[in-house]
Symmetry: C2
C-alpha cells in the first residue's frame, strides 16, 4: 500500500532548541547504529548531500558524520514517525559508527551481572580523529 | 567477547528535564518501532516489570506503553550507547507499536514524490483507547 502524503515534514519546532532525535539504522544488518540530533539545517544538508549530517550539541555546530574519521553514512532512505518529531535514517555505514571504534554505539548490553560489551571493535579509537561530539 | 563493565548506568542528568530518548526495536524483525522518552522512574519501572514504561511529555506522567490499548512491549534486552544518554530496547511488541494502528511509528518514507505510507494498519486506531501521548 502506497499512499502519497505530501504535506508532512519533520517538525523541528517540536524539539528542544530546534533539535530532533535522528536514529541511524544499518541498511544491511538492521542494527541500530547510533542516535544523534538534527536541526533543520543538518536535515537539509543530509538531503542535499546524501550523507548523514547531524548537529553536535557539544560542539554547537553541524557535524558531518565521518568528517574526521572517514566513517560516513550514505543515506539509503529516510522515515519520520507519526508525530513528525523523530527521524529514522537507513544508512550504509562506512567503517565504525561509534567513535569508540565499535560497529554501533550500542555495544553495551544489560545483564544480571551488569553491563557487558558484546561487540568487537572494528578500529582502534586512538587511530580516529573523531572525538565524542554528540 | 564479553567484558563486564559494572559501573555504567544511563545518565539521566544528560537529558533535557531528565529525559533520555529510548528506542524500541522489534526483537523478531529488527524494525525500529518507535522512539519515546524515559526518566529514571520510567527506566526503573521497565526494569522491574519487564515491560516498557516511558514518560509522556504531553501528559507529564509515566506512560505504561499499552496501558490503554493493550499493545505492550515485553523487553527482551536493554542497551545503552557509548555516552550513556540513549537507551535501546529490544522488545516483543504486542499488537501495533503506533497509536495510529501501524506496526511501527515510522510508517512514512520519503520519496521523490513526497512522503509515502508503506505500512499497512494492523488495527483501526478508532478502536484503540491509546491517544498520542509522547
Amino acid at each position: 500500500m502506497v499512499q502519497p502524503e505530501m504535506s508532512i515534514e519533520p517538525d523541528f519546532s517540536r524539539g528542544t532548541d530546534g533539535l530532533l532525535p535522528a536514529i541511524a539504522q544499518s541498511a544491511s544488518t538492521g542494527e541500530v547504529l547510533m542516535l544523534a540530533w538534527m536541526n533543520s539545517e543538518a536535515y537539509a544538508e543530509t538531503l542535499q548531500t546524501g550523507y548523514a549530517t547531524y548537529y553536535s550539541r557539544s560542539r554547537k555546530r553541524l557535524w558531518r558524520k565521518g568528517e574526521e574519521s572517514g566513517h560516513r553514512q550514505a543515506v539509503r532512505d529516510i522515515r519520520i514517525d507519526c508525530d513528525a518529531d523523530t527521524i529514522l535514517l537507513s544508512v550504509d555505514q562506512q567503517g565504525a559508527a561509534c567513535h569508540e571504534g565499535y560497529p554501533t554505539c550500542f555495544f553495551r548490553k544489560r545483564t544480571e551481572e551488569g553491563w557487558q560489551i558484546d561487540q568487537t571493535r572494528l578500529v582502534d579509537p586512538a587511530t580516529l580523529y573523531d572525538k565524542p561530539k554528540k
